[in-house]
Assembly symmetry: C2
Homo-oligomer: 357 residues x 2
């Protein structure tokens, strides 16, 4: 029996209910394939603020480090929206990324044929779309120094953030991206704003140099404004996209929304040494929390991603992903992906359906 220690971070809003489903699914697959999971739960986000006064208690970070992988659900909610920055749920998420040096964020945006009508785009535009956004996650304007709100000589306030990347930071995310593209269709599009920003110029130079080491990958460059357009116009042109922290935040959400069903999309955040964090792309949906209405499939697919990328258990990952496709094939739907003639299920019932296929 192989055994893994998994830290669970249910967080806020719908987090706890979708996490329950993912854990149930993992247990069943584990039993089938002789994999043992030892689950340990910890606090993050609003739940952690309420219990401890901090969005990422140090015990949580220690537990994460002391595990094979971290499964996160979602954080945030209206309740904590107006607290000062150091007391906000998002600050806990940023601290987790920094604390585990999770510099690579992998966000797939893949359209499922069963859900193609959920897209706001025409079916012929989104059919077959399968994009992987590789987003740098511990640098850029999210973390650059100096930052803050300063008072100028004239007594006026000035808000400042610094968008910066070093060569080493660009190289390490670049390598992840080229390797990701190698395992996919071999096409990598690097997105920047090199016609205006010096930080992007360095980015483009380094990515171009790295390309020499990956002759099997076809590299292109695109400005971020054009990339936002092209995602809307003709998303099938993209295979793998690599970009900085802020551009990746924006473009991965736009790409996710092309599918029309962000309740289906998982993501992975990976570092060099510490365990990776796996979480849905969607948020904590406080408006439907606790009502058994949430779609648990992105959380379940995040568990599959964890099996594939962190635990090297591709058979278990395949089994989960196939179960998701099967319940969709037979017409099971949660409210967010419901359409006429399908079976409407709650969060818990969707979990039961997955376990029974």
């Amino acid at each position: 029996t192989t055994q893994y220690r998994i830290t669970l971070l249910p967080g806020d809003g719908i987090g706890p209910e979708i996490m329950l489903v993912a854990v149930d699914v993992l247990k069943v697959v584990g039993k089938q394939l002789d994999i043992r999971f030892e689950f340990q739960e910890a606090l993050i986000g609003g739940a952690a603020i309420d219990a401890t006064g901090e969005p990422l208690p140090s015990t949580t970070l220690e537990m994460c480090k002391d595990s094979d992988a971290v499964l996160l659900a979602a954080i945030g909610g209206y309740k904590w929206d107006n607290l000062p920055r150091h007391l906000r749920p998002e600050t806990g998420l940023l601290a987790l990324r920094a604390g585990l040096s999770l510099f690579a964020n992998l966000r797939p945006a893949k359209i499922l044929p069963q859900l193609i009508d959920a897209s706001s785009l025409k079916p012929e535009i989104v059919e077959g779309v399968d994009i992987m956004v590789v987003r740098e996650l511990t640098g850029g304007v999210y973390f650059g120094q100096p930052k803050g709100i300063f008072t100028t000589e004239t007594g006026e306030k000035r808000g400042v953030n610094t968008m910066a990347y070093t060569e080493a930071e660009i190289d390490r995310i670049g390598r992840v991206a080229f390797e990701t593209a190698q395992k996919r269709q071999g096409k990598l599009c690097s997105v920047d704003k090199a016609n205006v920003l010096e930080v992007s110029q360095l980015w483009r130079d380094r990515i171009t140099q790295l390309a020499a080491e990956y002759p099997d990958v076809e590299l292109s460059h695109m400005y971020v404004d054009n990339a936002a357009m092209q995602l809307v116009r003709y998303p099938k042109q993209f295979d793998t996209i690599v970009t900085g922290n802020l551009f990746g935040d924006i473009l991965s959400d736009a790409a996710a929304m092309l599918t029309g069903s962000i309740g289906m999309l998982p993501s992975a955040s990976l570092g060099a040494a510490d365990p990776g964090v796996f979480e849905p792309v969607h948020g904590s949906a406080p408006d439907i929390a606790g009502q058994d209405k949430a779609n648990p499939l992105a959380q379940v697919l995040s568990a599959a991603m964890m099996l594939r990328y962190a635990l090297n258990q591709p058979v278990a990952a395949d089994r989960i992903e196939n179960a998701v496709l099967q319940v969709l094939d037979r017409g099971d739907r949660t409210g967010d992906i419901m359409s006429p003639g399908m079976n409407l299920l709650g969060c818990h019932a969707m979990g039961e359906a997955l376990i029974q296929v």
Copy 2:
């Protein structure tokens, strides 16, 4: 007879051919309404680099200042793509914006019923979309200091840009946005990344304070990643959007692409004292330059925007906008907006069609 001095900046690629059409249309409308235009032409972008070695010669800036309004076509092309930054066409555009203090960029994204099928989104999603993006244009990460590529203590290169806004910069673009919303549906959505960036936090604070002066405008706030999603998911929720330079660059292009016909979209860049610049949203399309294939309608509509916003000639503006709708109604199309059963026209012939309606 009212007389205006207009500086024409045809620029590169398809710029000169679409500018010719706009000038012809202005002359005809001027004759009809007893408005005289004195046109003076100047160099910018690649054309200026080739002729003078600089993307914005000082004579061009002087001519612009010494006029009632500036009509710009498009700049850039493959030829100048690999020159050092100070010799690139884009640098000329940024220098023009800074030189005329054009802090407010108005970019409408309005779907025309005649062209609804050109959109990659479903007709029911984009029908009736009418968004105005008010983008700050002379601040933020485009101009913030320090910037450059520096060498760190360890001998490594680090690319740096600074995203910064002062209260005064936020207030002046905020006022333009509130006033714009007042003239539209009275809904203003301010887009930022206040959950991560201090500069956005100051932005949100100031915009919120300004709202007290505009009780007739309904203000909301949205994070930029969510805004990119919502534009794709349900664009009709937006009326007026206000945001910083970089977010505006990205979101206005995404919004433009929702219409499926960016060859139709004009824009205005306005300052406090110097003349405004009016230009199409699309680029210089070097691949079709000089082939009489370009769509001149965005350029023509930019001239209409100039009449409306800079010259206070709403009747003339209406007349031009109506002419555009009429040629579309009778089925005239350039290649970029062509669909089965319509009449394919070249750039020049489209101009003739406009003049004859």
